[in-house]
Symmetry: C2
Subunit: 247 residues, 2 copies
C-alpha cells in the first residue's frame, strides 16, 4: 500500500497491511481493486481469482488497518466492479462485467442493492460495438463521477487484438439504468512507449481516480507494467459525449 499528500508523489506508510488473496476464492490472488467511500466506510471491490472461477470479492474498512470480508459479491465469471459513491433514491448501485460462455458477451451491467452487500435487478448497460475500438470487451473503470449532466463513467474497451483504450458514458442522475450518452472515439489511447510495450502492450486500463473540481486525475495501468496518472478536464470529456436521443 502507498499513500500520498499530492496524488503524484507516493510513499509506503508503516503499519498498514498489504492486501492479498485470502481463503479459497482468492487462492490465485486478487486484482484491479476499486475503492469507494460510502457513508464513512471504504468499500473495496476486486477480482478474486481461484480454481472456483473469477468473481468479484468485497472487503470494507474504515481505517485501512482492519478489514471486514464481505465474501464474493458477484459470482463468476465477473470483473470490473465499481460501486457508486452515493445512494440514489435510497439504493446502492454498482457497475460490473460478466462474461458469457454462450450468447451475450463482455458487457457492462448495472446492479442495485438495499445494503451495498447483496445485489439484484441486474441490467445490461453497455455492449461492445462492432468495428470500433471497444468491439471485443468493455468494463467499468473507477466509481462513476457525479456531474450536473449525469453520472460520468470512464470505461475501458478492447478490440479483437486486445488493444485497450479508455472511453466514457453518461447515466441518468436519477436512474443510472438509463445511458444517455457515450463517446464514439477513445478519450485516451496507448501512445507513449511505456503504454505500447511492456508486460501486456498497447494497454491503458484504469480503476482509480481523483476528482478535484473540473480536474480528473485518472490513475491507470500502462502495458500491465507501470502505474501512471493522466489529468483530464471533466467538462472536456462531457463535450466529447454523443447523446443518444432515441432514449
Amino acid at each position: 500500500m502507498v499513500c500520498s499528500d499530492d496524488g503524484i508523489h507516493f510513499h509506503q506508510p508503516e503499519g498498514y497491511p498489504l492486501l492479498q488473496g485470502e481463503g479459497e476464492d482468492e487462492a490465485f490472488g486478487i486484482e484491479d481493486c476499486r475503492v469507494v467511500l460510502i457513508e464513512g466506510t471504504y468499500h473495496l471491490t476486486f477480482t478474486a481469482v481461484s480454481g472456483h472461477g473469477v468473481g468479484v470479492g468485497m472487503r470494507t474498512t474504515k481505517d485501512w488497518k482492519t478489514f471486514e470480508k464481505q465474501g464474493m459479491m458477484i459470482p463468476p465469471h465477473n470483473k470490473d466492479c465499481a460501486i457508486f459513491e452515493e445512494r440514489i433514491n435510497g439504493k446502492y448501485y454498482a457497475l460490473h462485467r460478466p462474461s458469457s460462455v454462450s450468447l451475450g458477451g463482455n458487457y457492462i451491467w448495472l446492479a442495485e442493492s438495499p445494503d451495498g452487500i447483496h445485489w439484484g435487478n441486474h441490467k445490461c448497460l453497455i455492449k461492445t460495438r462492432k468495428n470500433k475500438w471497444d468491439s471485443k470487451r468493455v468494463g467499468a473503470g473507477a466509481a462513476p463521477i457525479k456531474t450536473a449532466e449525469g453520472w460520468l463513467e470512464i470505461y475501458h474497451g478492447a478490440n479483437a487484438d486486445h488493444q485497450y483504450c479508455l472511453g466514457a458514458f453518461l447515466m441518468d442522475l436519477n436512474d443510472p439504468s438509463k445511458v444517455i450518452a457515450q463517446t464514439d472515439e477513445p478519450i485516451m489511447q496507448p501512445e507513449a512507449d511505456y503504454e505500447l510495450s511492456g508486460f501486456f502492450g498497447h494497454v491503458v486500463f484504469t480503476n482509480g481516480h481523483l476528482v478535484n473540481g473540473d480536474e480528473l486525475t485518472i490513475y491507470y495501468g500502462a502495458a500491465d507494467e507501470f502505474v501512471c496518472a493522466a489529468k483530464f478536464s471533466i467538462q472536456h470529456i462531457l463535450a466529447h459525449l454523443k447523446y443518444n436521443h432515441a432514449t
Copy 2:
C-alpha cells in the same frame, strides 16, 4: 400452465396466463422454471435467455394470475437457481450455477439474501468430479428438501458426452454452505426408451418435485422432450449418501 389434484393427471385451467419471455433480457425465451412458496408468495426462478446473455430471472406471484417482475436475480452466465423454501437464521438462501469462460467450471454455488431479491456472499459448493457421471457440469434441481439429517438437494450432473443423470447432496441444516454428504453414483439415470432418445437423448433433468412424508415425486424432463414423474423414498436417497467425514 397445467394443474392437478393428484400430481399425476393434469389439465389446463382457464383464466391463468401462459408464462413467457417478456422484455429485453428474455427476448429468446425463459426455461426451466423452479417454484418455491416462501411465506405465502410463490417465487419463480428461471433461465432468461437473450442477446444480453443467459441469466436467472425472477417473478413472484400469490395467485398465478398476476406476476411481479423482480428483474434479473443473478447475471450471466447463470442457470439452475433453486431458492430454499424457508429462511435459515433469518437469511434466504439459493443454489445457482455459474459457468466460467476461464478457470472454474459449471459448479453449484450458494448465495444468501436478506430479502429474497438481492443476493451476495456467493460460495462454491459442489464441483464436477473427474471420471464420474458428473464430470462436465452439475446444477441444482428443485428447492432443497428439509430432512432431519440436513437439506437434501437433488441435482443433475452430466459427463463429457452430455449424458445427464440425477444425484443428491446434503447440506447442514443450520449452515447450508457446509456440504456434509453426496451420492457417489446417480440415483437416477436414463434407461427407458423415452429417456435415451428424443430431442436431446440420454437426459433426465429435474426442476420440480412434490414431498409427501417420505415420498418424493420427482418431475423430470426425459430427453428434453417429455415431462415424466418418478417416485422415490427420501430415506432411501439419504441411505445412499456418502458422508464427508473430513468436514
